[in-house]
Symmetry: C2
Subunit: 199 residues, 2 copies
């Protein structure tokens, strides 16, 4: 990936987050990046590819991290906690990209839309598999794993509207707080000890 293209993607994410995908014109992107029409389109192809790349990058990143966590975590509760920390950390670090994704992903069309939706489903499925596995082992309440997972994902995903992207300490604390609430609410056995901090 060329450094210019990377610069353009960053500027586009910030611009789309501020004004919306359809609300932001290419003219404004020109002056934000410091390139004129011809140069811009030499690098990006078209406008929709910017939106696609913004969503794809973040989603693929989260799918990759969560797959790794799910493969290594000692048990399901710890796994959920680690995945939650990773998610909230990523949302806080890439708040503009997530803002763009959640607001405008359905402005995508055709193959690009299909791929982004598939990535999003894959990510939710990782969570659901972990939850279902825990429920099968008698750890979690067996009722409605899909709805339960959508609930905790909602807690985190909604945070892009209010979270402050400053310190990772704070994001980890919030992630742990939500995990504590969710796990206490969902565990059949008494409260487990929190896992040691990582990374």
């Amino acid at each position: 990936m060329s450094p210019q293209r990377e610069r353009i993607l960053k500027a586009a994410a910030a611009l789309f987050a501020r004004e919306g995908y359809h609300g932001a014109g290419m003219a404004r992107l020109e002056q934000e990046v410091g390139l004129k029409r011809g140069a811009l389109y030499h690098h990006i192809g078209n406008k929709e590819s910017l939106l696609y790349e913004i969503s794809r990058t973040q989603l693929e990143h989260m799918v990759g991290i969560s797959t790794r966590i799910a493969a290594e975590a000692p048990d399901e509760a710890a796994c959920l906690r680690l995945m939650a920390r990773a998610l909230l950390r990523n949302i806080a670090d890439h708040r503009v990209e997530w803002t763009v994704h959640y607001r405008d992903f359905n402005a995508l069309t055709g193959e690009r839309l299909r791929h982004v939706l598939e990535l999003r489903d894959r990510y939710a499925e990782i969570w659901q598999r972990v939850y279902a596995s825990g429920a099968a082992r008698g750890l979690f309440q067996p009722a409605e794993p899909r709805v339960a997972v959508l609930g905790i994902l909602g807690m985190f995903n909604y945070s892009y509207l209010w979270i402050e992207g400053d310190g990772r300490l704070d994001t980890d604390r919030i992630a742990d707080l939500y995990c504590d609430i969710f796990l206490r609410g969902v565990l059949l056995a008494p409260h487990p000890p929190p896992p040691p901090d990582e990374e």
Copy 2:
């Protein structure tokens, strides 16, 4: 409110939910409503007022309902449960309006934006007051009432992306499930009996 204006608002909400506020042109709204330019603007004033009215109506409705519930509920846990049911019911019944609101409220400008944000804050504050009151009485964990409330609101608000607007039975069951998880996770005393179904 004239019946024509109401018709236009409904069509606009559906159209904006499909294509986004900036993505949907007035030409499409014309043919969806069955009126031409002149007639349309005779009723609506301008495009932004449509967006404003869509958000304002739902938010004022929720503020009103929750204020009433908070005044009448026997205790804080029951209050949260009733407010949660009312919220999820409203989201399911007005899914298109909430989709428009969450995606495009910040396309509003000036006074209209200020008012909508104020309504949204007022609504969150109702929840936070209930939670803080419960925490002060030793019912809930006292840590971070604002973050805790934003969490449960996230569970519900995120649902506009996946909930099916068919039966109210299902929405009440989902609301209760989330409340059970949240309350179990947050209550200091053991699990309380669920309140009787209402309305």
